[in-house]
Amino acid sequence: MSTHTGLPAKRKAPGSPPDVNDNKGRRRSPTRVNPALYLFPLPAVAVIAFFLVMPTLQAFQYALTDWNGFSAAFNYVGLDNFIRAFTNDSLFTNALTNNLKFVLLVVIAQTFFSLILALLLTKNSRGSVLLRALFFFPTILSSVSVAFIWKFIYDPNFGLANAVLGGVGLEALQSSYLGNDAQALYWVAVTQVWFHAGQMMVVYIAGLQAIPRELYEAAEMDGANKWQQFKSITWPFVAPATSIVVAYTTVQSFKAFDLILGIAGNPPKQSLDILSTRIYSTFANSEFGYAAAQSIIFMAMIALVTWLQRRLLRLTPKGE
């Protein structure tokens, strides 16, 4: 990486005044950064400090209190909030379980479908471009709109899903969807995959189009079938794209707050409560200290799951 000095290079002309650095017996390094440049990121640093660092530090402090969000008085309770979350709050552990289940479902399904779509639509034909646009379309919708569309689809009385099933004589498969506690999370996962698979497909297409064609030609000449080509060429080459897709989908699934709230209402019932909605409910319940502790656990959980995924999928070499 080259370093810019930020000042135009000066040619020392005969008779020109001596360089001050020369006077001190030191030579100015051509790669030295003008310290004034350190000030340039200051506005961005200030914004990050005030809107990210400071609230995060505050969250750590609040997590150690029983503050209710509006009183001037509060008590420091040590790690009680963290202990409570794991040992004496079945709503939190339920939300955590739901969230992990939701992440697992969505990451697997979304990665799979986006890769399949990308493989089918890699070529830049007119039809592919049209279909790509079609599959990408849900991404540009707001999550609230998506939630309302799918709320209508899943409605057991007037909804599209039951109407279609009834229309083709599959009444036995009709369901109350979001009203069925055992199934509700799966139906929301379907919505989440529909919402974001097109976006991840684009990431995969970019990865697939960067693979040199010669590799496939060589593999064909060696007699490799399609599956062998996929296993030995495509999959290793799209590993960086997979890494992005998996990490992004994980974070997205952990934070499917607006979709859940839109589709399941506020507060969502227990079968659809995930960590972000639980934290919101705890805030709304005037338990700011406890909600801050839940937020920190949430943050740690995303970091841990993302790291574990990368390790398990061998997308991150050791030491990185």
């Binding site: 310290p35 004034a36 400071m54 007037f158 109350s176 005037s286």
Partner: protein, 448 residues
Amino acid sequence: MATRSAVNNRHSKTLNEEIIVSQISRRQAIALLGALGFGATAAACAGPGGSTAPGGATGPAAPATGDITGKVSFAHWRGEDKVVFDELIKRFAALHDGVEVAQDISTSNDYTAQALQKLRGGSIGDAFATFRGSQFKNFTEAGIYTELKDSKAVSNYQEGLLSAGKSGESQLGLPYQVVFPMPMANVDLFDKAGAELAPKDWDSFLAMCEKLASSGVIPISWPGGDVGNGGQLFNCMIANNAPVDDMCAQIEQGKLKVTDDWFIKMLNQYKDLVPYLQPNATGTAVEPAQNLFSQGKAAMLATGSYHIAAVRGLGAQFPIELVFPNTSDGNAKYEGVYNATFILGVNSASKNQAAAAAWIDFLSEPENAAYYANETAQHVSVKDVDYTNPDLKRLSPWLDKNTALAARFQFQNLDVRNAVEASATAVISGTSPEQAAEAAQKIVDERI
């Protein structure tokens, strides 16, 4: 030479300036970044806690006099009443030159979750409304309400309905609306089925449902997929089952348990309702439930009178009555339930309290309260109101009946409320009453 020397001097000066700037910049950069980091850390470590001036029971009274001018922010959750309030705002502005009222409307769920934080600074919600129960209590504790005991508005209200806005001896808020969280009935369908509108006990209620079902309609449309609206039925079901009137407060305090016999009996009664609800009731949102009722497919909508305007908006032409699911065995203590809510108040942090108080006074005048009531199809707590809306006229006798104050708003902890109400939903989904009660009690116990 002179020219060359001048050039050299200028060059030398420029370089020196650059060096100085560089040296200062480095120091400044370190100092500024250090100061920024220190400031951020110090600010982050500042203790939590509000700076809202204490209002509430010990706080200031809303000013009786003062300039009624400037902007007033009116925060509430009744988006469906916006047009009606707009008209009232016009009338208010016509009385007071230079005053402007702007509505700050959130959805009811968002309002429940966020209003306290939004309003405590005073820039939003010079005048505002709260729900009865935990929200009113939190606003009181946060000192957001001002004392209205001596305000002009108080005398306009029915004495018996003001208690929901009291904290000790202080009258902090004025409960504006009177709603009946009981199933609404399509009278035409009841007549056609020959079902009685006022069952005297639980068996009569079930017999009534049976008659409606036999006539080919869904007896009860219940939005089980919507926690807020689905929970309104709980008010009716618990009113005559509980051993005491403050049953929900006692559940929350651990004095009563949802595993007690009376609660299990209530859950069994929920189970009795299953054949009379629409299919897949636990997955039904409020809008489809309203549609079933307004289209005449369901004879009752188990939400409350606050949905009259909505179902009329959906095209319901039939006469509407209220039906109380009487859970008693014939000796009911109550013949219905009501709620006094939309508790109006003046923000103690407001910079325009005089105008905000004047707006509350204005809304509390019988003529304006009547306009609000008749246009929104909701009864009000204000005295001497002339109800001209046909639905309100028909339902007005309920104002004089022996009704219980809606119990679900006694819960101060929303997690407890949701868990207790979810036990009823679980029973309707097929869980046994005992199991559902145990699951709910576990959550209650964790929060005692």
